[in-house]
Amino acid sequence: MGFTVSSADMEAIALGGAFLGTGGGGDPYIGKLMAQAALDAHGPVTVTDVAEVPDDAVCVPVCMMGAPTVMVEKLPNGEEAAAALTALEAYLGTKVDYLICIEAGGLNSTIPFAVAAATGLPLLNGDGMGRAFPELQMVSFTLHDIKASPMALADDKGNTSILNAISNQWTERLARAQTVEMGGAALVALYPMNGAQAKQGLLRGTLGLIRELGESIAAERQANRHPGDALIRRCGGMQLCTARVVDIERHTTGGFARGRAVLKGLDEDQGRSFTLDFQNEFLCLEDGEGQPMALTPDLICALDADGGLPVTTEKLHYGLGLRLIGLPADPQWRSAGGLDLVGPGYFGYSHAFAPLETLNPTNTNT
């Protein structure tokens, strides 16, 4: 079943997107404002269930690529996404029928709504990550041999380019270099696929999910309840810990904001300690003895322990109270191929992946 999204829904979608962003993907605020402006100007967006899409339909994900810190400063012109789509259509020699959200976490959870409103194209209910990840090849589409290129990039000045690469990893490398030249951020259209491929590759229902999660966060906060419990119930997740940041160390290697936060337990976790590793997103949580409690691709979602709002890695600071919630990743990510692409090993962690249900057998799914 499809649904429509209007300007009023974007608040919830941005909140839910920030939650599934697992600390990364950038603050969806700018994307929310862009989507609201576009929805106000052009009317609501139709979100379509992928099952209803004809097998030969042309489906294309659109997203922003680059440093989130650049995006909060150099806002888009607004025409970039349409320019990228037009360039890709011209190259493919066909019109696009459906848009896809590539990343249901962070800034890119909201951008496709702006593009869909402006172009009048429907958006598929789903995405390629079910969360946020830092690199372009880290999508379920890669697992289904859908190629990232031809890919179109567009900047604020009107420059566009088309990339053709031999693998999705190469597309990432080449596109990354171009976004830097384009001023650190660009809007891109990539992974052109047909409806049949979309049915295989898409992680389904995630746009409806983030809207629901955002509504739940807002409703719980309204009722003066911490939203953690409701989110755990809805997502079949588990409480990992409630703790305060007592040390934080950041460094840049290989173009990523890597870092580690040391946490001291609060409330029922009083007396325990934890370390939380991140590379743009939260990727690895260990207890005081160095035993893993949650590992990528499972989701480590952070909420402010007091206010209950999602927290990004860049906002982590000494003294901040966090409530960490683990959500099981989509089964596709837990497959051997999925783990090669986004498992702990890819990010340089020594732990072998184990599902968070196995790592924390005593935590109840309440």
């Binding site: 976004t179 001023g183 840049t252």
Partner: protein
């Protein structure tokens, strides 16, 4: 010994204190008046008399005020502003004030201008500054009689040249036009920084009038000393700075009461509870300064990135109403507020308030204790327990370590605080009721740097040292004593995906005010 006069101009009360060195000579509370000036004069005369010092002897005056915050919140006294952004062809999708409440946009005229210009993250120009368009805008400003302009360029925290050039061109064509540059006010984050610049520009004539009124109130009282105004992080601005940057006073109220609490107790690591008539603000002190908020703070419905203390409020104050009986007690959230002196039982009123419980329990001596003698002791115990529990939960939320740091209770309602909150000792300093005026009196001078550095060809340590030097120079030129400078914030955030190991360094130093200013 330096004699300092601290004044806090709040929405309800104007408080004043006089300090000799570190000693509080006297503190008074009086009502804030419509014209602000006469309220200050009243408080001033009362505190001078109580302290028994000659007005000529006062060396320096510090004022804390919520006047400008209230102007934005209440949409009063704001000017029309030309909001000029340098950034095209980028940024067009979200024009200035896009996320403001409609009534506030109307108040400032909704004059939005986007033109070519701005920088990339690495300092390249997005486009050359469109000077012809700027000259056309200058004509429109004159024609429409717009009072002030705010100029915001993309990445101006990295390079401010273009904003400065745009200001020079505007002022050449609109002589005397006040122009606010976003780089002078905020950090990275275009919308928030731009909004701050626009709000600031809209407050300029109010700040002119207010600073003038402050000065006149002081000089009419025979005070010839210089005066300063506190900003939201507990540091000082000279009168001329407030005139130019009134937005920097936003949220200085809670900051002053927390800093005052630190001073009155000598404790630098603590949790502060400021119990007023209607609410209790809870925050924590680190190195004697309020801990800053992690999330973006709203002022009058506008998202800002000001440094603000991480304070949250619960509905408990000296005027909070109590209903029900011992077994089924309801405390608040309603309060009799400023009508406490008429409504509370101890003052002959008809409403049972937390203050009545405090008097009945022997925790405070205000009003007529005989009027509450009949209250059921079981009810008193239940209310005390519930108040203690509310405070304990609030304190636990602010607590950053299991270390037993003290809780400092300030504000007129702090008679409600028990002697211990959980396992933490409660300190109730003398002069607790005027802690915010004390906080104003002891405010410090700061210098700050927030910029992206490329680590290529240098080291992180070198960049931090450079940033510290620059911040220190800024503090000293603002009047701080070099030997008292300490770093209170030092944070570097590596920027993902940017080459050359770019990192954003935010560093702030503070120091005592130099003698030449005192």
């Amino acid at each position: 010994m330096v004699l300092r006069l601290g004044i806090d101009v709040g929405g309800t009360n104007t408080d004043a204190v006089i300090l000799r060195g570190r000693e509080v000579l006297a503190g008074v509370k009086s009502a804030t008046t419509e014209d602000v000036m006469s309220g200050i004069s009243n408080a001033l005369e009362a505190v001078l008399e109580k302290a028994g010092v000659a007005r000529e002897a006062i060396d320096v005056t510090m004022i804390g005020t919520t006047h400008f915050t209230n102007a934005v919140v209440e949409r009063k006294g704001l000017d029309q502003v030309a909001a000029i952004r340098l950034g095209l062809p980028a940024t067009a999708c979200l024009p200035p004030m896009v996320d403001w409440p409609e009534d506030l946009v109307e108040m400032v005229g909704g004059h939005r201008y986007l033109l070519r210009g701005g920088y990339e993250f690495d300092g390249r120009e997005i486009a050359a500054l469109d000077e012809d368009e700027l000259i056309r805008i200058a004509g429109e400003i004159t024609e429409k009689g717009i009072k002030a302009a705010a100029i915001s360029s993309v990445f101006s925290p990295v390079n401010r040249d273009m904003e400065e050039r745009a200001r020079d061109i505007l002022q050449e064509h609109c002589p005397g036009l006040p122009v606010v540059l976003s780089c002078e006010i905020g950090r990275l984050g275009l919308l928030e920084r731009e909004s701050a610049a626009i709000m600031n520009a809209s407050l300029l004539s109010l700040s002119d009038r207010t600073v003038e009124a402050f000065g006149r109130a002081l000089s009419e009282a025979g005070l010839t000393c210089p005066f300063y105004v506190t900003q939201n992080d507990g540091t000082l601005m000279a009168a001329d700075m407030v005139r130019r940057f009134p937005v920097l006073t936003f949220a200085s109220g809670p900051t002053n009461s927390m800093r005052g609490a630190a001073f009155l107790t000598g404790v630098k690591e603590a949790i502060v509870i400021d119990i007023g008539g209607t609410t209790t603000d809870v925050g924590s002190l680190h190195h004697g300064f309020p801990r800053q908020a992690a999330t973006v703070v709203d002022v009058g419905g506008v998202r800002t990135n000001f440094r603000m203390p991480d304070v949250f409020s619960i509905g408990l104050g000296g005027g909070t109403m109590i209903t029900g009986d011992a077994d089924n007690l309801q405390i608040g959230p309603k309060s009799v507020g400023y009508r406490l002196p008429q409504e509370a039982l101890v003052f002959g009123g008809k409403t049972l308030t937390t203050t009545d419980i405090a008097v009945r329990a022997g925790m405070a001596e205000v009003g007529d204790a005989a009027k509450v003698a009949e209250i059921d002791p079981a009810l008193v115990e239940a209310a005390k327990a519930q108040i203690a529990e509310m405070l304990e939960m609030a304190v636990e939320r602010s607590r950053v370590s299991p270390d037993p740091i003290p809780v400092i209770a300030v504000g007129g309602g702090s008679i409600l605080a028990p002697d211990r909150i959980g396992d933490l000792e409660v300190l109730r300093p003398e002069n607790f009721a005027v802690a915010n005026a004390v906080g104003a009196a002891i405010a410090q001078i700061s210098g700050e740097v927030d910029r992206i550095y490329a680590l290529e060809g240098t080291t992180r340590e070198e960049c931090l040292a450079n940033a510290e030097r620059e911040a220190s120079d800024a503090a000293v030129s603002a009047g701080a004593k070099p030997e008292t400078l300490i770093v209170i914030e030092r944070e570097d955030v590596p920027l993902a995906y940017l080459p050359g190991n770019a990192t954003r360094i935010h560093l702030k130093v503070v120091g005592e005010m130099g003698e030449n200013h005192a």
